[in-house]
Amino acid sequence: MDTKEALYNYCLRLGDNNLVLGQRLAEWCSNGPILEEDLAMTNLSLDHFGQAEFMYEYAAELEGKGRTCDDIAFKRNEREYFNALITEQPNGDFAFTMMKHLLFSAFAQHLYESLSLSNDKRLAELSVRALKEIKYHFRHSSEWIVRLGKGTQESAMRTQYALNELWMFTADLFEINKIDETLIGIIVDSNELFPAWKKTIETVLNTANIKIPEKVHMLKGGYNGKHTEHLGHLLCEMQYLQRAYPNAKW
């Protein structure tokens, strides 16, 4: 794998994380616990689709086959998506969604911070853009986790349950494969981000009185296209029109 191909694949990973999260957040549309949050979640969703779009645009340019960002977003099969497993997990209740976003946005914040210093100018530039938004996502989800953790008994219970269920997907975020190895120098080794991420998460969870579960078996594989069963259904719905009318322009 040469650097260009690796970078193409790496952009797919960044794009796919956003696409899948955007899709999941959009599921909240008209289902939020209060109108303000309905709007907040669709707004976050919108940010993720925007980020997916510019990551795919860069990927398409690197690939140089004249494909569009929509070709890349809508016309691949399950095993050709490289998003982290946590992003594709179903929304669950509001605490579950907020926990998912806390864990992911804290990761993305540290990742984009490091990528904004990349010597690949374009990647650095896109990461700066994404970082601005993801900082807000982190603030939003961390504030909610504290609110829910310290709110009522029920909300604390639901928040703790969410973390217990999601913790097994966190190591997957920091996995590295051939793509990462090829790109060392352009991107940072994800393992180096782990301590900072852990510290960020612990600060929020401590404030919220939520405990990190012990002895959890970690599930991994998203960056290699080995997903949970949930992704296929998400793609099925998302790709419906593009698949049903392959010759149509929208």
């Binding site: 289902n31 309905d38 709007l39 669709t42 689709f49 709110g151």
Partner: protein
């Protein structure tokens, strides 16, 4: 000042086209009418998120997804400031939602029709938002200040919605035969319900007379409907869409398009709860509201604790 003097002052205010503001005296019936109309408008914006939300996950391109999400957000935002405008009249949002769930408050009947294909998203933006704009532009001059100012803001965003809807229709009419069929089908299903959005004909409208006197309503249902028809028929023809009305004809003398008879029986059926989606829309809204109760409770409990903690800090 006696009640009579207050009423006199109110009437002069209306006559001179001045706005009524939240702290001004107003007849109880005026207040009730405004609450009914503004809350109905707010509920419509919020319930309208459902048929469009139904297509967010299946929108065919990233751009389409972004535009649709932004549009739905706008609608929700309109809902928010309309609820706030209604709150200036002495009712809170919780009470308005309760009235909606109990069937005491209504929302626009148009959202009781289903969004079946992607072309429906085009038709909703173009026809439904298009009809709403005609109504709302007129309401910019309504007599209640907060509502009138809300309309100014809303109209700016609605015209963007209508354009995005029409753009979807244009793209589909320029597309493959299946897309054209989808677009015409959406036109066939949404045209008549869109005309009904302006309400019953002037002779039969129960609220119109008093609302016109109080300048809540500035133009009649039929006048607004005609304005929409004239604008929209040409837009349909321009992209090759047929208007599903065999009696449609252009009257050279008046310069207006004349339509066939609207099926008012259907209109009343849908208003009375028998449209294709009445039950579904309400069930959806009630479920989301109930499912979210523990979140709202938690947020309130947390705010309460924080407040007490701060109090303690101050007294210590």
């Amino acid at each position: 000042m006696t009640e009579e003097d207050k009423l006199k002052r109110f009437n002069i205010c209306i006559e001179q086209d001045e706005k009524i503001e939240p702290k001004d005296w107003m007849p109880e019936q005026y207040r009730k009418t405004m609450i009914r109309q503004i809350s109905q408008h707010a509920h419509s914006e919020v319930i309208g998120m459902q048929p469009e939300g139904n297509w967010v996950l299946r929108a065919p391109t990233l751009r389409a997804k972004k535009i649709l999400l932004a549009k739905i957000q706008d609608e929700g935002g309109h809902g928010l400031y309309l609820y706030s405008a209604a709150e200036t009249l002495g009712i809170d949002r919780g009470e308005m939602i309760k009235q909606l769930h109990e069937g005491k408050a209504k929302y626009s009947s148009i959202f009781n029709y289903p969004a079946l294909t992607w072309a429906d998203i085009g038709a909703i933006g173009w026809l439904v938002d298009g009809a709403a704009i005609v109504n709302q532009v007129s309401l910019q001059r309504t007599s209640y200040g907060p509502y009138a100012r809300g309309m100014v803001r809303i109209c700016k965003e609605e015209s963007f919605h209508q354009r995005q809807g029409y753009e979807i229709m244009v793209t589909m009419m320029n597309g493959i035969s299946e897309q054209k069929k989808m677009a015409q089908d959406a036109m066939d299903r949404w045209w008549w319900p869109a005309l009904m959005m302006f309400g019953p004909p002037d002779g039969e409208s129960v609220h119109t007379k008093q609302s016109m006197q109080w300048k809540i309503k500035r133009e009649s249902n039929d006048v607004l409907r005609q304005r929409f028809i004239d604008k929209t028929v040409d837009q349909a023809h321009f992209i090759g869409l047929e208007v599903p009305d065999k009696d449609l004809k252009f009257n050279e003398a008046t310069g207006h398009w004349e339509t066939g008879t609207i099926n008012w029986k259907e209109f009343h059926e849908v208003i009375n709860g028998n449209g294709p989606c009445n039950h579904q829309r309400m069930k959806h809204h009630i479920k989301a509201h109930n499912d979210g109760k523990w979140v709202r409770d938690a947020a309130l409990a947390f705010a309460e604790t924080e407040k007490n903690d701060q109090k303690q800090l101050i007294t210590n």
